[in-house]
């Protein structure tokens, strides 16, 4: 069998605003557009990703928060209505996601062997979190590529960023090993924002771009610093800086 490979990794955040502004048929609320530059970026990203003809999209979402270990969706298909608990007026989306259960199980096993706790979610009534759905939609609106959906372990909240980061590094290594064994071409989607401090008020028209900006300048500077490292391929430095960045920019973990 050909050795599988990670063909791309994307920091692919999940603001439901982008789906809302795009007005896809699956989403009930409709907008007058907005957040264009981000949506254009997603369009370019989508084009690049799909050109690599991936067999599977792996999403790690901070909106499926788990306490005991790292969880994986474990049935062939999940479908239903996702209503965003924070922005329900923007995101009420009918989803139907196919899961690559074989790869999910394989990653879970690899991670378990490396010392992590893993669990497979097989309750058919389970509602897939909106972070996973938003990211998958924005990368592949046709929904014709199976996915692996991985939860976000809560350990950073209970212990420290470093503990969380250590676990995530192991999870990443397990994911890589399982992908290589699978023979599949995989795209990794980290469904995370950078700085993550929200406004607590909203413009009357949510897509009113005159009201949109990064919450404060310090967060903006930190975002730019991390982006600069990523742009220059200094991933180890970005990892070394990550813990401080999370604290200083209220980054999403």
């Amino acid at each position: 069998m050909i050795k599988g490979q990670i063909v791309a990794g994307v920091l692919a955040p999940h603001p439901p605003h982008l789906v809302y502004a795009e007005n896809p048929p699956q989403n009930e609320p409709k907008s007058e557009c907005g957040w264009e530059t981000l949506r254009w970026a997603y369009e370019r990203c989508r084009k690049n990703i799909l050109a690599k003809k991936p067999d599977v999209l792996l999403v790690h979402s901070p909106h499926w928060q788990t306490i005991v270990g790292h969880h994986f969706l474990g049935l062939d298909e999940f479908k239903g209505l996702s209503v965003d608990p924070i922005f329900p007026h923007l995101f009420r989306y009918n989803y139907n996601v196919k899961i690559d259960v074989e790869l999910s199980l394989s990653i879970a096993n690899e991670a378990k062997e490396m010392g992590l706790i893993t669990k497979i979610m097989k309750n058919p009534d389970f509602r897939v979190d909106y972070g996973t759905i938003t990211t998958l939609h924005l990368i592949n609106p046709a929904w014709d590529i199976p996915a692996v959906a991985i939860s976000s372990n809560n350990s950073p909240y209970y212990f420290s960023n470093e503990v969380g980061q250590k676990q995530m590094m192991i999870l990443g290594q397990a994911t890589k090993a399982a992908i290589e064994k699978s023979g599949k071409r995989a795209v990794l989607l980290a469904s995370n924002s950078l700085s993550h401090r929200h406004f607590t008020k909203e413009a009357t028209i949510p897509e009113d771009m005159s009201a949109e900006h990064i919450y404060n300048h310090a967060q903006y500077l930190w975002d730019m610093e991390i982006l600069k490292m990523m742009r220059q391929g200094r991933s180890q430095q970005a990892l070394d800086t990550l813990s401080e960045f999370i604290d200083m920019a209220s980054a999403e973990v």
Partner: protein, 434 residues
């Protein structure tokens, strides 16, 4: 005032273990059984109009959300404990109150959103509590979100807005705070039979909080919530306790009862009731001693939610036998620094005062405290009067006094003193029949 708008207050945990998997653990089963007692109380409640929920698991970012779907219905699965099973629900919601409450919160300058979307995810905590407390929708429910960025003052004012909405609608509510105490989970799989609070320190803090709540000292809990949160990772930093305190008048004037305290996957889960009361309470039988720290000592202190705030560590009144002893009562008014009948300069020194106005205000405060203690003005036995300027003020003071006391004529002693702790000229000390 709280007693007219609140029928009963409950603090309950909202973890699905209690609803779906109680048989797996003696601790969870105990909580399930205790929930049954509260459910029975609610079934027997004939005075409430609705149940108002505040769950620390319903988080909002932009202001506050209010459930406004008259009949939300869904099949819910918890994101962590999905193996325990699914939770179908079909609730009845008091949309009129939700709207009224949202309007009050809007007046405070917060964004508000009425939630009426098919499939909106009601949080696990609210579902667990509602299914265990009000399974047949005997009372319509109202639900408000917990803003993840709110701090103490904001949480309190959101609670106060609920009280205002209840008052405006003329409704009486059962108030349910769905919240754990310490909120530190075991992060590995455990044998549910051996579940325990995840740290000794968390346990110690939980017991401290329970001790206060068993005495009905909700405001005292609110005051130490920040430290509780720091020390024991209180659920959502204790926002729910602040909300509850704001709604209930920021007083300690409750009859507290702790039904149970158990671990749920390491967190502190307690079922507590608080009954608003302005009558002296004998709380010696109110605590389930099997489940509570033996240091708990009920009290007979009375704190009025209408009288001026004490300026030291004392109650407004204390009942001993069939007598009621009031603290020294001055003319101040609750919630304001302005003293009726007193004009102060910028440094807080008295420029001028009116002894008649002050005396009337003192007597009105005495009336309030007596009423809130279950007694009445007519039951006053003895009055001690303290005047800071006998020569100047006695005559006018005595004229006002006569208006109020000519019928009952309790015994009285009037003395002149050099000063009182606040810039007032008169203070009464009262003994009355309880």
């Amino acid at each position: 005032m709280s007693s007219n708008i609140i029928s009963q207050i409950y603090i309950v945990p909202g973890l699905p273990h209690i609803l779906l998997a109680h048989e797996k653990s003696p601790a969870w089963q105990s909580l399930y059984d205790s929930y049954s007692k509260l459910r029975q109380e609610i079934e027997n409640n004939n005075e409430a109009d609705l149940i108002l929920y505040f769950s620390t698991q319903w988080l909002s970012v932009i202001g506050y959300m209010f459930q406004a779907d008259p009949n939300p219905e869904w099949l819910h699965v918890d994101q962590n404990w999905y193996d325990f099973g699914s939770m179908p629900y079909n609730f009845k919601v008091d949309t009129s109150f939700s709207e009224a409450y949202s309007q009050e919160v809007s007046k405070l300058g917060h964004n508000v959103k009425l939630i009426n979307y098919k499939g909106f995810p009601i949080d696990t905590g609210t579902i667990v509590a509602q299914k265990l407390l009000n399974p047949n929708n005997k009372f319509p429910a109202s639900m408000v979100s917990c803003n993840m960025y709110s701090e103490k003052d904001e949480s309190i004012e959101i609670g106060q807005a609920a009280a205002e909405a209840l008052k405006n609608q003329g409704k009486k509510a059962i108030i349910v705070l769905v919240s754990s105490l310490s909120n530190r989970y075991h992060i590995k799989d455990i044998d549910p039979k051996e579940d325990e609070i995840s740290s000794a320190k968390d346990n110690e803090w939980n017991l401290k909080i329970l001790e206060l709540l068993a005495e009905g000292r909700l405001e005292d809990v609110s005051q130490c919530t920040r430290e509780f949160s720091r020390q024991a990772n209180a659920d959502m930093n204790g926002k729910g306790l602040w909300w509850l305190s704001g709604l209930c008048g920021q007083t300690n004037n409750f009859q507290g009862k702790v039904y149970d305290y158990q671990p749920v996957w390491g967190t502190g889960a307690a079922l507590i009731s608080l009954t608003p009361t302005f009558t002296p309470i004998d709380t010696t039988d109110n605590i389930n001693q099997d489940n509570l720290d033996p240091q708990v000592k009920p009290s007979n202190q009375i704190f009025s939610s209408r009288a001026p705030e004490p300026v030291g560590a004392y109650a407004h009144a204390k009942k001993v036998g069939n007598l009621l002893f009031l603290a020294g009562i001055g003319p101040r008014e609750r919630g304001t620094k302005t003293i009726p009948g007193v004009t102060l300069d910028k440094q807080g020194k008295i420029i001028d005062y009116d002894i008649e106005i002050q005396t009337r205000s003192v007597i009105e405060n005495v009336k309030i405290i007596l009423e809130d203690s279950g007694s009445s003005f007519e039951k006053i036995i003895d009055v001690q009067v303290f005047l800071t300027d006998m020569e100047k003020d006695f005559k006018k003071f005595n004229e006002v006094y006569k208006e109020y006391f000519s019928k009952t004529q309790p015994t009285r002693t009037t003395v002149s003193i050099t000063a009182l702790p606040t810039p007032i000229a008169v203070e009464f000390k009262i003994i009355a029949e309880a």
